[in-house]
């Protein structure tokens, strides 16, 4: 048998790697490798290279499930892991959580491994359509993924995000928030890893996610619970800055590892990292009004900027999306009729009689909740949205919604109106909705039928 670049061995390596090798092929490879140091080196180089390609191109953990990994997942579930486990890294943390739970150690303290949002997300529901994150804000952003233009609400799958100008915020399904300042390019292939191709990215990593990494060629920046920024200018010298918390900067070639803490900055010149000065203009922390951002659970995601349309069929998504309409609060000049205004659990019946009103003179903010599922799928969406101010009223009847769209709707968004086809009006018939006793949380369980589900929530605004 010849060497790896010959006519026989390379195809054999590839057949084994591509999982199409027969037992005879494996036996032949075993024979060839035995007592063949040069062959062993060649085989290791091949395996290593394929794994690295996989890691760089598609993320080593983003392969679709096969029967064996499904079995492993089922086994893990049977062992007491309550959420789907789709990557080795997820697995070790699941294992850790499970072991800790078993021995009663609360080492992650406030990290909510057992109830954090990532636990509920079925990342591998469909490997082809797997969503790794969504764009939650786009400020003057001109961005593409392949030929697809990205806007607030766009789902992001494996691939490159090319932000040509403006800025963009991405919420990864792992819970990590990314902020990009254009021009920047990133590759997203893994829920716990982003490759920065050029430009600047800032990551805010929640306590519940450990091990998130931003990579630039030759350097891994691994989060240990923090927010940090990485910049990669055209000269290839990456800068890393920690806003808060701790990260490890690891040089792949030399395996040098530097631990960075609050407000520390390092420069990577391609071979090593060295302390550097903080460049305020380089790293821009995403500024946002935290008070205006509600807490979401389950299938709900908050968009920091509104989508361009919420008309039926124009903004289809696997998730329930919520956004704040208009930046300015509205002072009500007359009483505002709403579908309901009292805490309780409701099932919306056909021809719902609206009751309740928000009194005139009240200063309100409105939030829009939208579900228009992709295709005919009938999966139930469940979740909740918690505001830090009281909910004053909830509107879901289409006539009320349409009437209010011009007053409260965001001018950047196209809504259903009296002029659009009434057959495509949103409806919440037979869905359930709960307004908590403290008026801060709205919960729902929606099983979308033929049309979209839309709700407007009025909350008290700060005067």
């Amino acid at each position: 048998m010849s060497g790896p670049n010959g006519s026989e061995t390379m195809p054999l390596f590839e057949a084994v790697h591509d999982q199409i090798a027969s037992d005879e092929d494996v036996a032949a490879l075993d024979d060839w490798l035995r007592d063949n140091p040069d062959g062993q080196r060649q085989y290791l180089e091949f395996v290593d290279m394929q794994h690295e390609i996989e890691r760089q191109i598609a993320g080593v953990f983003s392969r679709g499930p096969d029967s064996r990994t499904e079995n492993a997942t089922s086994k893990a579930a049977a062992d007491g892991f309550l959420f789907p486990i789709h990557s080795v890294r997820w697995k070790v943390f699941a294992i850790a959580a499970s072991l800790l739970a078993a021995v009663g150690i609360g080492w992650w303290g406030n990290s909510r491994l057992d109830d954090k949002p990532i636990a509920a997300i079925d990342l591998d529901a469909s490997p082809v359509s797997r969503v790794l994150g969504i764009v939650t804000a786009s400020e003057n952003g001109l961005a593409y993924s392949g030929r697809r233009k990205l806007e607030s609400g766009s789902a992001l799958r494996s691939g490159r995000v090319d932000l040509q100008s403006g800025s963009m915020k991405i919420r990864m399904e792992s819970g990590v928030e990314l902020f990009l300042a254009g021009p920047s390019q990133i590759e997203m292939n893994d829920p716990l890893q982003v490759q920065l191709v050029s430009g600047t990215v800032t990551a805010e990593v929640p306590d519940s996610v450990i091990g998130f990494a931003v990579k630039v060629p030759g350097l891994n920046v691994v989060d240990l619970g923090t927010s940090f920024g990485v910049s990669l200018p055209a000269n290839g010298q990456a800068k890393v800055h920690v806003f808060d918390g701790v990260v490890d900067a690891e040089v792949e070639r030399s395996q040098q590892r530097v631990r960075l803490k609050d407000r520390q900055t390092v420069l990577f010149d391609g071979t090593s990292v060295a302390e550097s000065s903080y460049d305020q203009d380089l790293f821009v922390q995403p500024g946002m009004n935290r008070d205006a951002i509600p807490t979401t659970t389950g299938d709900v995601r908050f968009l920091h900027t509104p989508p361009t349309s919420v008309r039926v069929g124009q903004f289809e998504h696997d998730l329930v999306l919520c956004f704040k309409e208009r930046t300015e609060s509205t002072l009500l000049e007359t009483d505002l009729p709403v579908s309901l205004d009292a805490p309780g659990h409701y099932r919306v019946k056909p021809r719902w009689q609206n009751f309740g009103a928000v009194p005139r003179g009240t200063l309100v903010d409105s939030y829009f909740i939208h579900l228009d599922a992709i295709g005919p799928e009938k999966r139930t969406r469940e979740g909740s949205i918690t505001f830090n101010r009281p909910i004053l009223g909830v509107v879901f009847s289409s006539s009320l919604l349409k009437g209010q769209n011009e007053i409260f709707g965001d001018p950047r968004t196209a809504y259903v109106t009296d002029r659009t086809n009434p057959k495509s009006d949103p409806t919440l018939e037979n869905e359930t909705i709960t307004l908590s006793a403290d008026r801060r949380t709205i919960r729902f369980s929606w099983r979308i039928r033929s049309r979209s589900d839309q709700v407007r929530v009025f909350v008290a605004a700060d005067r």
């Binding site: 490798l33 007592d35 290791l44 290593d48 598609a58 499930p65 070790v92």
Partner: protein, 175 residues
């Protein structure tokens, strides 16, 4: 006393190395995935039981992975053909011996990947991102035709091109 954060930090750092080590010793990818999970469990348990400080997490973790591979091979002996024990041992030793060179090649490969043209990146993404059936559908290959028939020639070309690029960079000292 090592803390859990120490473990997570070390594990995050060396996870890929351990996985590569396992992948070198087993010819079946799903086995490597399962073995990684088993190894992670063992590492977690043994990390806190170690009587002496672990000086090299990577070396220690690979040693544990090695024994997991041998144990696994024995348990699966009747199901499918794996590498023989002596070949596994020789590969593990070779891996340790060539560790630096392999790291160097990976760095070179990263630079080579940056030079790939978009259609080749898409091809690799298609190959590594989705399952064989879906690849078959996505590449318009005739129904039932295996993935390799539809894509193998193009994949081979890209792989060889990358291998050539890596060799060139290593030889020229330009990583």
């Amino acid at each position: 006393m090592p803390t859990e954060l120490d473990f997570v930090s070390e594990y995050s750092r060396w996870e890929n190395e351990v996985y590569r080590f396992i992948l070198s010793l087993v010819p079946h990818r799903p086995d490597a995935d399962e073995l990684m999970q088993e190894t992670a469990k063992t590492l977690w348990t043994k990390y806190f039981q170690a009587e002496e400080p672990i000086r090299s997490f990577k070396a220690w973790a690979c040693q544990i992975a090695f024994y997991e591979v041998l144990r696994y091979r024995k348990s699966k002996a009747r199901e499918r053909l794996n590498f023989s024990q002596d070949v596994i041992e020789q590969l593990a030793n070779a891996r340790r011996q060539h560790d630096d060179a392999l790291t160097e090649r990976r760095v070179a490969l990263q630079a080579c990947l940056q030079e790939l043209k978009w259609p080749d990146i898409e091809l690799l993404r298609t190959r590594y991102g989705i399952t064989p059936d879906e690849v078959s559908a996505a590449t318009d290959s005739p129904a039932g035709q295996p993935i390799t028939n539809a894509m193998s020639k193009r994949l081979q070309r890209v792989r060889r091109m990358l291998a050539h690029c890596v060799e060139k960079r290593i030889a020229g000292g330009t990583l």
